[in-house]
């Protein structure tokens, strides 16, 4: 193994609680690789984050030292793998505010987490005439499952609309979340607008109306401290790959009483207690929801991603992103014809910054930036209805993370200026 691999990130906290971005960058092998002859400036973190070598090493270590199928084996490797896997459950429960371990279900990602609830809790509880409330800024993952559910059951899908600066418009919220509402599904942080939503207030109202609340935490969990109890959520979903972890791993948290009440989503090995040819009893939660061989290596390496984030401190990460988003927004606003979607105050938002150029299509911006080594995203960001609401076909989106700094933002701004010159508009 490479001797210069540091196995902990404790030293990464600079004085005064700030983060030492250079040292963080050094942990990410991919950032050392030039792209199109330029230094890689990775600003597509809302899509997926890069992985520090600590996480990559954890995958290698797992396969080299303890690879085995879990929960079923009595041999040493199986015991090592099982206890490592179950320890991540404990870790994840702690990471999201100290919930009960058995309320943490590993899935393949946010999308599967949300679908699990739509097709179990949803199919069990939603009836014709019921209402499901979403918001206009939802990612398809927190929209299509509810649209399909409402179509299949005859329920009505209602939505909370947006203010011009991309926040939830709560003025008529009492007309939207009503006694007919059974479920409110809302993003904790928007992947397009960056907006941080007042989920606790919404949950409070929803609960008063007798509805339950699912929070899509795909963008929040990586970027700010999340204490699930404080969100008021009944279900909370997020993905490892957006928070330094491997692809193919997600978390679904749910209140135990709810999880115990609903049927499993997928069925097969590990999730049954006893099965005969004519009857079956389910295993206890969380196992009831983890059928088959899970992404064992992925879950085990996710542990290291959580540690990395904890060592930096989620509060520090949030501060860093407030600071850097503020800088990026100010610099973008200096540019002619650039319009930012979403709130401009960095305290109201995360670091996913969508913008459009009055004259240049986001795809062209993205392709041009890429030729300068800058990775941003352009398109609908899996939020087509939001695009339509905003009157856009697409936006460009730069999204920040722990390894980004002002140098990266300056590179973005310089390249944007060049883009205009290049297209001659």
């Amino acid at each position: 193994m490479n001797p210069d691999i540091r196995n902990d990130a404790t030293a990464l906290k600079g004085r005064s609680g700030q983060m030492d971005i250079d040292r963080i960058k050094a942990d990410f092998p991919i950032l050392k690789q030039p792209v199109n002859g330029h230094r890689l400036v990775y600003l597509d973190n809302a899509a997926t984050s890069q992985k520090p070598k600590q996480v990559i090493d954890a995958i290698v270590k797992y396969y080299n030292e303890s690879n085995a199928n879990i929960h079923r084996g009595l041999h040493t490797l199986a015991e090592k793998a099982t206890s490592a896997y179950e320890n991540v459950r404990v870790h994840a429960a702690r990471f999201i505010g100290g919930v009960d371990n058995s309320e943490v279900i590993f899935t393949s990602g946010t999308t599967e987490s949300i679908n699990t609830i739509a097709r179990t809790w949803g199919e069990k509880n939603i009836r014709s005439g019921d209402e499901i409330v979403i918001t206009e800024m939802e990612h398809h993952a927190n929209l299509v499952p509810w649209l399909v559910l409402s179509q299949n059951t005859g329920a009505t899908l209602r939505r909370i609309s947006l203010t011009p600066d991309g926040q939830l418009d709560l003025t008529n919220i009492n007309d939207i979340i009503t006694a007919r509402t059974r479920l409110v599904a809302v993003a904790h942080m928007s992947n397009v607008l960056g907006t941080i939503n007042p989920v606790a207030d919404i949950a409070e109202l929803a609960h008063r109306r007798g509805a339950i609340v699912l929070v899509d935490g795909a963008q929040a969990a990586p970027h700010m401290p999340v204490d699930i109890k404080q969100t008021g959520a009944d279900f909370y979903a997020f993905s490892a790959h957006k928070m330094l972890g491997p692809t193919g791993v997600g978390v679904l948290w749910g209140r135990k009483t709810l999880l115990e009440d609903i049927p499993p989503f997928t069925t097969g090995g590990e999730m049954i207690r006893e099965v005969r040819f004519d009857r079956v009893t389910w295993n206890d939660v969380p196992h009831k929801f983890e059928a088959g061989t899970p992404n064992i290596a992925g879950v085990i390496a996710f542990d290291r991603a959580l540690s990395y984030l904890e060592e930096l401190g989620m509060e520090n990460i949030r501060s860093h992103e407030i600071e850097l988003s503020g800088y990026a927004i100010n610099r973008l606003l200096e540019l002619d014809g650039i319009e930012i979607q979403g709130p401009l105050d960095p305290h109201l938002r995360g670091g996913a910054i969508s913008f459009t150029d009055a004259k240049i299509h986001p795809h062209d911006i993205s392709t041009f930036l890429d030729s300068r080594g800058i990775a941003i995203r352009a398109g609908h960001h899996c939020a087509q209805p939001l695009m339509r609401t905003m009157g856009k076909v697409a936006t460009a989106r730069a999204s920040l993370y722990i390894y980004n700094d002002r140098m990266d933002i300056d590179a973005l701004i310089d390249a944007l200026k060049e883009t205009r010159r290049y297209f001659g508009v």
Binding site: N36, H361, H363, T367, S371, G379, Q384, M387, G424
Partner: protein
């Protein structure tokens, strides 16, 4: 890699992009077909006036990137006056050229040849294809005697 960037955005393409042909709505809509590139959000509407088996007028309305706009503009320019068969043949040639399965663009259509640079940008192939696939779908409908809007065309399968 500024080179491959310049190959993508050749001058001809930037010219079509800045002043796209086919902006004017057609008087009589014989063929109407909408398309989109779901992964990018590009949207296009193609409307055609036919006259005795021949494309008389074409209107292209594209909300998209330089490539999709330029490709749509070229479509408007080069299909006008052509027979149904010729248009389909041309669309096929463009598709094959974009996919690198043959690049025999007739010399009189040299603007189209500029789309070649797209091949080095696999995700953008869909953008260049959008207008053509949308038109072809409209033609099929027309040939089958169906009137009205075709189902939305998607480039998802392509490239």
């Amino acid at each position: 890699m500024t080179n491959s960037l310049d190959e993508l955005y050749r001058e001809i393409i930037l010219d079509h992009y800045r002043s796209p042909r086919g902006k004017k709505p057609v008087d009589k809509v014989d063929i109407a077909s909408d398309g989109q590139n779901p992964s990018c959000g590009d949207e296009i509407a193609v409307q055609v006036t036919m006259d005795d088996g021949t494309v008389k007028d074409v209107h292209v309305d594209c909300k998209g990137c330089a490539i999709s706009i330029a490709s749509g503009s070229m479509l408007a320019e080069y299909t006008k006056g052509k027979s149904l068969g010729e248009v389909k043949q041309l669309a096929d040639t463009v598709k094959k050229m974009l996919k690198g399965e043959g690049d025999e663009i007739p010399p009189e259509l040299e603007d189209l040849d500029a789309l070649k640079g797209v091949r080095k940008f696999p995700v953008r192939i869909k953008c260049a294809l959008l207008a053509w696939m949308t038109l072809v779908e409209g033609l099929k409908n027309y040939e089958n005697g169906k009137t009205g809007q075709t189902p939305l065309v998607s480039t998802e399968d392509e490239s």
